[in-house]
Amino acid sequence: MTDDSSAARAQRTAFTAGFARFDAVYGGIEAAFNLIAATAIFLMMMLMVAEVVAHKLLRTSIYGFFDVVELGMAVFAFLGAAYCQRLGGHIRMDLLVTKLQGRAKFVVEAVAVLVALIVVALLIKATWEHAMRAYFGNDTTSDAELQTWPSKILAPIGLGMLWLRLLLQFIGFIRLAADPDAVPIGVPRPVEIQEDAVD
């Protein structure tokens, strides 16, 4: 840049600091939502055990068991998606990307994230409308007649969080494409071998 005055530099530094801070705070929110999803899995495990006990020993069944399970599944189907994206957990083939270096690599990464940004935006709109139809149509499950919209609305919520994460990654990659030597912020770290859950 020709007009790389100290004012412009200061502006960039301020942007970097703000971006890093937002990334960290938002990362905490994503982790909290993932914890909600994981807790739902654990609670579902206990519910299942209770149902087995009720069914086998007491010859009865928990009222609305299937409905609760199916509606509840939306919690862990959608709420962990953003956390997973932040950690680079959604599967992909990175053969090409890992071969590229410097600017070209970040441009390709940005384009790949852009595709996701567009399609996830469409899915948010579509799943939101689906949830709204359930809300205004007073849609309930057939068995226990539970309202379905609180479950259906988790789809646009989870996807919305995912979209914001994708946006951060997009900005992060564009920033790296402009300045490949900058400290990476907001982008997943290179694939790391999972060791944390071991032993």
């Binding site: 055990v49 959608f78 071998i193």
Partner: protein, 436 residues
């Protein structure tokens, strides 16, 4: 454009996006939504796409996945692995390459509580490799046997990969899980045979340990296996007796493993928190990829691509075995570059109808495919399990591990050939237990 042309273009576009590095889920959804909008118009196309994520994610069948994932992460902390390995070590102390053989069977045992190959490889890289190296084992053999042993988790129930296959092709989860049992044991035996043959040819690879154990010691060490037996009994027994759905048996098994971990006081709060977070993350990944794929599948269905492909395959003037081998070799090549789930997602919607049209059994094909996925966890350049072992043991170079796994890949090939020659090996157990 005919719908079929649109379908073919869509399929090609999906592959192009995946190669570009777009996450598989988003590539599938992008092409799926675009294709549906193109074929059905904006409002119907978007409408269908909006229905699928919630409707497909909240099928009761899918609830088995988080249960199996949870079991796997909790099992690390239940103190199961150490007891398993010690027991196997004593039992196989006199066998050539005894520690490596022990690793295979201990990994097979652990596979019975874990549905993830990479996790199993990581655990045994820590427990078994140090012990093998201390006894003077060849590094290549020690690291490769761990990488290969880890793959058994995909075949021996509970297996997340099998559930994903069952969901994509709408096969019975219970039947598929039970079908994996015998092939899993055969695979373990073949791996053990591969070790023994190699060590017989070149004894320097694995010097005898020199420890001797009395029969009593061996028998008493078997109790290291009991927690595993218990979990296997719950998962398979529950499904077999019709007592529990796969999800319920998964939940009960997870609860048992959780109680074991608590009882052994080996799981800190931090460990439990990490296990939960990992479970949530992996579950989110799998659900996202499934509902995105199903949008793509809906599009392919409208385009008529799977049906057309099946018709074309059946019309080929060659025996069906040739077609099957051709398809399997495509998987083998794909597997060199792709993750197992990605491979299933990318190919099954088109390949599976063709396989069925050829008259093959869906359960049998599931086992063959999962077995192929195991091979692709070992083959370079993207053999994930080798990376995991290298990640835990950076002192063993990756190319050494890749060189070491070839005997095990050959063993896998022999097993696949056996299943193709005698399909009953795969289908006999589910047929006997659950009826034809």
């Amino acid at each position: 454009m005919t719908p079929l042309t649109v379908g073919i273009i869509g399929f090609a576009a999906m592959i192009a996006l995946v190669v570009l590095g777009v996450r598989v889920a988003f590539a599938a959804a992008a092409v799926g939504v675009a294709g549906l909008v193109y074929m059905r118009g904006w409002s119907a196309g978007v409408g269908i796409s909006g229905l699928i994520p919630h409707a497909e994610s909240t099928h009761y069948t899918l609830s088995v996945l988080p249960m199996f994932i949870l079991i796997g992460y909790l099992a690390f902390h239940a103190g199961i692995t150490r007891g398993l390995f010690d027991a196997a070590r004593k039992i196989f102390s006199r066998v050539p390459g005894g520690l490596a053989v022990a690793t295979v069977f201990a990994a097979a045992g652990f596979a019975a509580v874990s549905g993830a190959s990479t996790a199993t490889a990581a655990v045994f890289a820590r427990i078994a490799i140090p012990e093998m190296l201390r006894s003077g084992y060849d590094k290549r053999l020690a690291s490769a046997v761990v990488a290969a042993g880890g793959t058994l988790a995909a075949l021996i129930p509970p297996s997340a990969l099998m559930v994903i296959y069952a969901i994509i092709v709408e096969a019975s989860v219970g039947r598929l899980l039970i079908a994996g049992f015998i092939p899993g044991i055969i695979s373990a035996l073949m791996y053990a045979a591969a070790v023994i043959i190699r060590v017989k040819i070149n004894p320097a690879l694995a010097p005898p340990i020199g420890e001797r154990y009395s029969l009593r010691e061996k028998l008493s060490s078997v109790q290291g296996f009991w927690p595993i037996m218990f979990v296997v009994a719950i998962v398979l027994g529950g499904i077999y007796l019709g007592w529990m759905t796969p999800t319920e048996s998964g939940a009960v098994a997870a609860a048992v493993v959780f109680l074991m971990a608590i009882a052994r006081r080996q799981m800190s709060r931090r460990d439990f928190f990490n296990a939960l977070m990992e479970t949530g993350k992996l579950t989110a990944m799998i659900f996202t990829v499934i509902f995105c794929l199903l949008i793509f599948v809906r599009f392919l269905g409208y385009a008529g691509l799977p049906a057309a492909f099946a018709e074309w395959i059946v019309g080929l003037p060659v025996p069906r075995l040739v077609v099957l081998l051709l398809i399997l070799s495509i998987y083998l090549v794909l597997g060199m570059f792709m993750d197992a789930i990605g491979m299933l997602i990318l190919t099954l919607p088109v390949v599976f109808p063709a396989i069925i049209a050829l008259g093959y059994d869906p359960i049998w094909f599931g086992i063959i495919i999962v077995k192929l996925c195991e091979v692709c966890l070992l083959t370079p350049p993207v053999g994930l399990n080798c990376y995991v072992v290298n990640g835990v043991r950076p002192d063993i170079p990756l190319d050494q591990i890749f060189r070491g796994v070839w005997p095990f890949v050959l063993a896998d090939m022999a097993v696949i050939a056996l299943f193709i020659a005698i399909p009953d090996i795969v289908t006999v157990l589910p047929d006997a237990m659950l009826g034809k």
